[in-house]
């Protein structure tokens, strides 16, 4: 069989994904196919494809054993947590003797079982009091939409999510998205927190609704970062329209927009590290220092210089656990690497780093 046998074209024909150019190409190949080789291939692949749907793996999983494992995990976690709570409540008692506790404070307990995370604040952007009433209206609209939509997926774990239309969302930590399993008319995504969007082309408008504003996109890549008062949109490719409190602005490629004093401000993006967090953590497996340094540079957006003399470049056994998004490069150098290697570095005035000493022996 020839090397360019169009398996993938026949496959696309089977799945209905084939476009007219590919279809024409396939027809041409079929025309010159004197031995009817392709048409028998087409039949066979069709049979295989259809029959493969009935594939069922011949493996057995033990649900009871898995549940037992699950119980162990949550029990040990609850033990830790109740210990923590015991310590905490003791502290609270001491405080309450001096001042009355705020009754609203602890109503929302997010991330149970996890240490509390600090929310990023943006002190430069102030908010008009008017926005509060706007928020209330938006919230109401959300409630209505929620109750009407069916088959809504809710995700609050950082990671990437493929939508039915081919778009992808990378969700950051402490964020949540809601999206329908399939799109009937407009593609409406609800976002709390921060996410990066890569929008597939479609005549259906793509909209990101947040508590603060609405972002509408055509075919583009952008990030949206919000808390309950602020919104920031950075556009990596294409352009989007941001609506905020009656104001509306087009945000173009390599620009970011945010709300300031109740209005939308647009400025050019200076940093080349927009949405770096979407790369799902950072981990190494038997990598050499050059690879590690190159990845660190991309990931943290800093320059790292290696001092040739002290660096053992033959050492290629760098392995590290998955580094959370929130880690700093110092954490990597000070904590992760020293577990298995010897490292010395300096931080330079311009923000870059120089590795002065590195070897495999601890």
């Amino acid at each position: 069989m020839q090397k360019h046998t169009p398996y993938h074209l026949l496959h696309k024909k089977l799945t209905g994904e084939i476009n007219s150019a590919e279809s024409n190409l396939l027809d041409k190949l079929m025309e010159v196919d004197v031995d009817a080789e392709y048409s028998s291939l087409e039949t066979e692949l069709g049979d295989i494809w259809n029959q493969a749907e009935g594939y069922s793996p011949n493996v057995v999983f033990n649900a009871d054993a898995a549940f037992a494992k699950f119980q162990d995990r949550i029990q040990s976690e609850q033990a830790d947590q109740s210990q923590e709570e015991a310590n905490q409540s003791q502290e609270e008692v001491e405080i309450s003797q001096e001042q009355a506790p705020d009754p609203i404070k602890d109503i929302k307990t997010e991330n149970e079982g996890q240490p509390a995370k600090v929310m990023r604040m943006k002190p430069t952007r102030k908010l008009l009091p008017l926005a509060a009433s706007f928020l209330a209206i938006v919230a109401l609209i959300f409630l209505l939409k929620n109750s009407l939509a069916d088959n809504t997926m809710t995700e609050s774990t950082a990671g990437s999510y493929a939508l039915a239309d081919g778009s992808t969302i990378w969700l950051n930590e402490n964020s949540e998205i809601k999206y329908p399993e399939s799109f009937k008319s407009d593609r409406v995504i609800q976002l709390t927190g921060e996410a990066y969007f890569k929008v597939a082309k479609s005549p259906k408008p793509f909209m990101v609704e947040t508590a603060t504003g609405i972002v509408e996109a055509i075919s583009t890549e952008f990030t949206v970062d919000t808390d309950d008062k602020n919104i920031e949109v950075s556009v990596i490719e294409g352009s989007v329209e941001l609506e905020f409190d009656g104001d509306s602005k087009i945000v173009k490629e390599k620009q970011k927009a945010f709300n300031q004093d109740g209005k939308i401000e647009v400025e050019n993006i200076a940093s080349r590290n927009v949405a770096n967090w979407r790369k799902a953590g950072l981990s190494f497996k038997s990598d050499n220092l050059a690879t590690v340094v190159s990845d660190l540079q991309t990931y943290f957006g800093v320059e790292i210089v290696m001092n040739e003399k002290g660096v053992d470049s033959a050492c290629n056994a760098i392995t590290s656990p998955n580094l959370p998004h929130t880690s700093s490069i110092e954490y990597f150098f000070d904590v992760i690497i020293p577990e298995s290697h010897k490292i010395k570095y300096t931080k330079n005035v311009d923000g870059s780093f120089t590795i002065t000493e590195f070897s495999c022996t601890k």
Binding site: F70, S156, G159
Partner: protein, 184 residues
């Protein structure tokens, strides 16, 4: 335990969360594992992925609104987690897949008239024999109905690589199922 309906499980969440999760394990654990196993043919990884889905569900079940069926929700969550896991592994999908001669001509005898059940068995064996990367890409297309573009995006690979892996998978499957054609 008899099979519980979604609304029964969801109301059980408020009274006895652990019992609710236990019911979900009994009813859907195998179903989820099988769905993930179709893509990742490694039982240990599959069970880790599914375990994680249950754990996350445990943590947020009071807060989320599940508007599809629980079954569909859990399946989707497991598949998304599996795909994230694959992407994090940084598997080199674009390296040349070596198709062994052995894979291609594994059945010598001409078995041209396969009965339907036989064909299913042969296909099952053939899918089980696919190399890891082929299997992942093929299964995403076959069982998750994902387009080339969707596969490329969620694995962070090029569409060309998806084409190659699909072609390889089909080549191997065909050579296993219809060996009499390629041996000529």
């Amino acid at each position: 335990m008899e099979k519980l309906e979604d609304h029964e499980i969801l109301s059980l969440v408020h009274t006895d969360k652990e019992k609710a999760i236990n019911a979900l394990f009994k009813q859907y654990y195998n179903y989820m594992c099988h769905a993930v196993y179709k893509i990742i043919a490694d039982s240990v990884t599959v069970e880790d992925v599914v375990q994680e889905v249950y754990y996350e569900l445990w943590r947020k079940i009071d807060k989320i609104e599940i508007q599809t069926s629980l079954k569909a929700y859990l399946r989707r969550a497991a598949i998304n987690k599996a795909l994230n896991h694959i992407r994090d592994q940084k598997i080199k999908f674009d390296e040349e897949e070596k198709i062994h001669e052995l894979d291609l001509v594994s059945r010598e005898e001409g078995q041209q008239n396969l009965e339907l059940q036989e064909l299913q068995d042969v296909i099952n064996t053939a899918i089980d024999g696919l190399p890891e990367r082929c299997r992942i890409v093929f299964s995403m297309s076959r069982f998750e109905n994902m387009s080339y573009k969707e596969i490329a995006q969620s694995l962070d690979i090029s569409i060309k690589t998806v084409e190659n892996q699909i072609s390889n998978a089909l080549k191997i499957l065909r050579a296993t199922v219809y060996p009499y054609v390629t041996s000529s």
